[in-house]
């Protein structure tokens, strides 16, 4: 397998995973890549990040086309998560176990915690590192995406190694933004941001402000993330999108997310989606029986409202809806309007529980939950219409 040259002395040497579909509970319908980079200078050779365990041979075979892996002097780990560090033990055995692995101070702790007994020679970075006649500069980016995360910047060529930042999950033989249309990558970049980075929009916003204020943003010519492709034609485009997404600005859109046991909650969801559309909102129907939680939250990202529908099973939320609620609770969406509905047979706790969960998450709830016993009849649809009107009014007030 061939490496890909990015600049005269920087190479992509990562791995392409065409087959991954479940990325720690996040659906990756087009696979992903684990990007690693090699800086080759006459004085020193530096490897930046590795790959997921199982892809070490692919990484090493690409490196071997440029330089004997044993000639690598040092490794930089920008992010300790297993998809970038899982290959470290085997890669270090190939290049020399005594070679230093540089990471942030938290990165050293996190790598040590994950690879106990692997004998890694971990060292905390101190601002910059000599990579052979030039310096690699480090920027701590805690919680973008983990506490250990950092960016590395090669000022001589304006290359930013951004680990998970500006990444997306797409397995292709192409490696550059000018080889893939925005129609293809745009939705994938939003999908990635919504699922991976939503909880950290605060720190990301601050980071963007800082790199602009420091003048670093103006020096960036190429962004090399750890997933997806390299931004060389227009790194400014993805920076622009991130600056927009961190705001979590609501659009005139409502997403109806639900599951159903015997089609009654489904019937309510269909009616509700139609009412919302008639009231002038972009209304999206997401049946959790078919739509993965990670797809549903991507639809929710810029939507002003999320309406959650659930049957009642054994006095509880339907399991797939509980799963979705737990997932969005962790993502900590801001500026959301909520609503809950559902059919039930006798006890009917489901929709009430969903409403209480949305309230606890700080969503604005313009109406009470709507519950229908057994199968919805024409008269049961009135409260649903009222819910749609209350939600549409609240949405129009903010979007």
């Amino acid at each position: 397998m061939e490496p890909i040259q990015i600049t005269p002395n920087v190479w992509w040497v990562g791995a392409v995973d065409y087959d991954i579909r479940d990325f720690h509970g996040y659906l990756t319908p087009r696979g992903s890549t684990y990007n690693a980079y090699l800086i080759v200078n006459s004085g020193k050779t530096t490897l930046i990040d590795t790959v997921k365990h199982g892809f070490e041979d692919e990484l090493l075979s690409r490196i071997a086309k440029i330089v004997d892996p044993k000639k690598i002097d040092q490794v930089v780990s920008n992010h300790a998560e297993m998809d970038h560090s899982g290959g470290l033990p085997e890669v270090m055995r190939a290049i020399g176990p005594d070679k230093p692995v540089y990471a942030s101070a938290v990165g050293v702790k996190n790598l040590d915690g994950q690879f106990k007994g692997a004998g890694l020679n971990l060292k905390a970075v101190e601002g910059k590192l000599d990579v052979g006649g030039e310096e690699l500069v480090f920027l701590e980016t805690r919680m973008v995406h983990w506490p250990d995360s950092m960016f590395s910047f090669l000022p001589s060529q304006g290359v930013l190694f951004s680990q998970d930042g500006f990444g997306l999950h797409l397995a292709t033989p192409e490696r550059f933004d000018d080889e893939i249309a925005e129609d293809i990558w745009g939705p994938l970049a939003l999908n990635y941001f919504a699922n991976i980075l939503t909880p950290y929009t605060g720190p990301i916003g601050k980071l963007i402000e800082k790199v602009v204020a420091d003048g670093l943003a103006a020096q960036i010519k190429i962004i090399c993330p750890d997933h997806g492709f390299i931004w060389r034609r227009a790194p400014s485009r993805i920076l622009e999108l991130y600056a927009r997404w961190v705001q979590q600005k609501p659009r005139k859109k409502a997403v109806v997310v639900f599951d159903s046991m015997w089609h009654s909650t489904e019937h309510m969801a269909r009616e509700l989606t139609d009412y919302l559309a008639k009231l002038g909102l972009e209304a999206v129907h997401q049946n959790l029986k078919h739509q993965h939680r990670s797809q549903a939250v991507t639809e929710c990202y810029e939507a002003a409202a999320i309406l959650v529908g659930t049957p009642t099973i054994n006095n509880q939320l339907f399991p797939s809806v509980a799963d979705f609620i737990s997932y969005i609770k962790g993502l900590k969406f801001k500026n959301k309007i909520g609503g809950a509905f559902g059919s039930y047979g006798w006890s009917g706790e489901g929709a009430k529980l969903a409403q209480a969960e949305l309230k606890a998450m700080g969503y604005e709830l313009p109406a009470d939950e709507v519950r229908v016993q057994w199968v919805p009849q024409e008269k049961d649809l009135e409260p649903l219409k009222a819910l749609a009107r209350a939600v549409a009014e609240a949405v129009k007030a903010v979007a």
């Binding site: 938290v106 701590e140 805690r142 919680m143 506490p147 909880p199 950290y200 605060g202 720190p203 900590k332």
Partner: protein
């Protein structure tokens, strides 16, 4: 003295333990923690903490 939780990463500041690695002695109420102190896990500022309980 209440515990405070970092809304960014979930770290809990416990006044009983303080944060001795960063010069905050055990027994320091959150209100007395210096204004430039940051979350030892994720680097978030004091304004990113909510009182717990």
């Amino acid at each position: 003295m209440k515990k405070h939780v970092c809304i960014v990463c979930g770290y809990v500041y416990d006044p009983a333990s303080g944060d001795p690695d960063n010069s905050v002695a055990p027994g320091t109420d959150f209100s007395q923690v210096p204004g430039d102190w940051v979350c030892p896990v994720c680097g978030a500022g004091k304004d990113q903490f909510d009182a717990q309980g």
